[in-house]
Symmetry: C2
Subunit: 491 residues, 2 copies
């Protein structure tokens, strides 16, 4: 059965494979030419490895969920509704599940009608279904720069053209957005939707200010554009005041009691409960919701009733201190991730040195760091994995063209124990110095002073090629309030 | 919050909705014009209703799975791997899960390499990912007539042109397939893949003979076409000998120990275990597998680790009589569904009468019946749901153009208790007679003799419009062996 061990057969296979590859190529759809593996897949694969310290994946810490509670809730489902948990459910999701989603939305200060909700197989499926509904090949999506690395292959598979708008510590630059929209208009191109992660942006780690949120909704309204608001971490805020969702700001403008007609809201249980459930949701204007539902029917019929009934049972569970258990769990995650964020920030100060700059997120899972411009983090990752057994997401993965972001990286602090954060950052710091040493040798430029810091690496200057606005500004003194204007017009 | 109850707001909303609908229409992708709700969604929605006897859905009987075992397996997962069950997993699936899939394939007599497998979110996702990988708008898919109603909206969403090939009790007519392929060739159109359900076809209930299987693989090989073999029920055979999968027949031809290079195999746990898990799989030639994986990354990152770890725990469970528990469970399903099939066949004899004909499946979940040609089963369904509180899938749902199959219907015998099968079929019989009575009144033709049988309805004649070859032949004496040739050339 082991084909690789049969000599002659192996040779024949190799020849055949070349022939077959050509044959299959002719059968593949045009969209597959734009399909490439995102950094995400390697990250997924790493989840089954244990020898590497991975700061790469978007993994929450699922070891925080009590096994006893898992067993208890599953036993409850078993006693009450095994047959239903094992059966197909409605495409839009089970009613008991949608009630949980309405509760989570209320905790975000956003009030929605259950009939505006569709349950999906993770938040990722929302991005896929929104593209399926709105994107013809060549259509334009406007996203942030950098953007969620997991959205990049989805946008590619739908052959979208993506315009990425720079950010600063207050989120997407709305002036830059308007300039881009003007340019697109003059070119006769109309974007189908604006994709944004307003809270603790992935991978940028910045939060869109209230003023920017208001302006974004205004701009979308004036130009009749849809907005896809991706909000996986809204409840995972470690400091500062919660800000309203774009969905609620738009609904307020419309004044019809909760229904936004231009914001498609993406939520997920992956970060506030567990990604292994594969449960997310969309809230959308009804005509869009109808298409999302049709798209989902064709994609996977319905999401898992096993995991939906589990969530429904969980939301009925009282906590130890009077609050519902799910509130208390999120509070525990907040305390834990807050500390881990601080551990990572300390470790970065210690090991990355002055040639680097990074964001200080008020919540979420990720820190975005930008290194000496001579470093390509894709090369660095190869070196770091091989020599130091440590991983992160290279910045290019967050750009559609794969050219920008070359000196940046995303690191996850939430899913990794404190000691591994310290050790992981130390190892990356070591790899950076190795890489700078190599570059010094190759180019004749002076290498960073080993061993502790790469002090000699120049701080990135504003406007330099290879550095995003985000990368530039994080080198400036960081602000924690996120809501104050940085520039006069661009609130 | 209840917008529908506010008078003025309601009026405003109605006007706005018309305006907005137009606005959204302009934003929708071209593919949404081909997207329509399949019969499947209504069936899904019915799963949350209890007052209707539904013979419609593709539902297995999940009440057969012991709640104690569900709780026990979940407790085992909790004790051993809660954190892992709640975490993301690899896109291609967890290694422990893939081992279970290899075991199921072996039980089907098909030997595959774990590296050729990808775990999916139900079998439906395989159809979606295969289309994503292979279909550009206008590309041709060859399918059976009738075909799986759940595939119809997927094929539509990818803007495929689908050629449906007639069947007889031995499955797809290979002569007709070749004639269609010749015609397509002469038109310069090359189909991307042939979609077939060889065992207990959904919805037709027929099984492709061994001779036809061999010829289908030959034809695909000669013409360098891919085959998507959809085999959800292969292990649910109630009589007759199991037949080899197309995958194993092709692998045999290639002679490389298990690897088929033209068959993409679709498997699922939905019918042999539980659809609520949303776990299926594909076995595919490696270049295709790679694209399926990329497509899945963009679609939902990975399938549920909660349900994958559950299946892995289940496959380790010993049964009561020495066999693995999952073998014994399938054996119990076989006994149960066999009886229910017989109950439905009896009920059909009693209540459908001689104007109708139906298939006698050797396994699976479905019987396909064809009625008096004057009856449109789409209208009949409306009547039957309203007056008789009973549901089935109308035949049109199994045809891409929605025009053929108008006198046919699919009924599920597996997921419904014996008494409900009898009562459901009785109610449909009553609705048929009501409908024939109405037609008699409208057209002046004599109505069927009420109350017991619609004896006066003519048996469908071969070749008549509105009847598929399958509908025609099932009126002939039925054969149980399925493997014997019906026509000389078309084995």
């Amino acid at each position: 059965m082991d084909r690789s061990s049969t000599g002659a057969g192996g040779g024949r296979r190799t020849r055949q494979t070349a022939h077959e590859l050509a044959r299959y190529e002719a059968l593949f759809a045009a969209r597959t030419r734009g399909m490439k593996s995102s950094a995400m897949r390697e990250m997924m694969a790493l989840t089954e490895q244990t020898d590497v310290i991975s700061l790469a994946g978007g993994l929450p810490d699922t070891s925080t969920f009590a096994p006893e509670l898992y067993a208890k809730l599953m036993a409850k489902v078993a006693a009450e509704s095994t047959a239903r948990a094992l059966q197909y459910g409605p495409t839009e999701g089970m009613a008991s599940m949608i009630r949980c989603i309405v509760e989570v939305m209320e905790a975000e200060g956003t009030f929605v009608d259950p009939s505006e909700v569709i349950v999906t197989t993770g938040g990722q499926q929302v991005i896929d279904l929104v593209c399926k509904t709105l994107i013809d090949p060549g259509d334009v999506i406007v996203a942030e720069a950098p953007t969620y690395p997991g959205a990049v292959p989805t946008f590619s598979a739908y052959q979208a053209e993506v315009e990425q708008i720079e950010m600063d510590p207050n989120g997407m630059l709305i002036d830059a957005l308007e300039a881009t929209l003007d340019r697109l208009h003059s070119e006769g191109r109309r974007p189908k939707f604006i994709y944004t992660i307003p809270n603790f942006q992935n991978p940028g780690g910045v939060t869109m200010s209230l003023a920017r949120r208001r302006r974004l909704v205004e701009v979308a309204r004036e130009r009749e554009l849809l907005v896809l608001e991706d909000n996986p971490y809204g409840l995972l805020r470690y400091e500062g005041e919660p800000l309203p969702t774009l969905h609620s700001l738009d609904a307020e403008t419309v004044g019809r009691g909760g229904a936004s007609d231009l914001v498609i809201y993406l939520g997920t249980f992956s970060k506030i409960l567990a990604p292994g459930l594969r449960l997310g949701w969309a809230v959308a204007p009804r005509p869009v919701l109808e298409k999302l539902n049709l798209g989902k029917q064709g994609a996977d019929l319905c999401s898992s009733s096993v995991t939906q009934t589990f969530v429904a049972a969980y939301f009925e569970e009282p906590g130890a201190h009077g609050e519902p258990a799910w509130h208390e769990y999120i509070e525990r995650l907040r305390v834990l991730y807050h500390r881990r964020r601080d551990v990572m920030l300390e470790a970065l100060e210690e090991h990355f040195g002055e040639g680097a700059a990074w964001t200080k997120p008020q919540g979420g899972l990720f820190i975005w760091a930008t290194l000496d411009e001579r470093i390509d983090t894709t090369d660095l990752l190869a070196l770091a994995r091989k020599n130091e057994a440590v991983a992160f997401v290279p910045g290019r993965a967050a750009y559609m063209d794969g050219r920008r972001g070359s000196s940046s990286m995303r690191m996850n602090f939430a899913g990794v124990p404190d000691a591994d954060i310290r050790e992981g950052v130390r190892r990356i710091g070591k790899a950076i110095r190795e890489q700078l040493g190599l570059l010094g040798t190759l180019t004749g430029k002076p290498a960073g002073r080993a061993p502790a810091r790469a002090d000699s690496a120049p701080a990135p200057a504003a406007g330099e090629e290879g550095h995003s606005a985000l990368a530039d500004v994080v080198a400036l003194p960081r602000r924690d309030d996120g809501a104050a204007p940085r520039r006069r017009r661009d609130r």
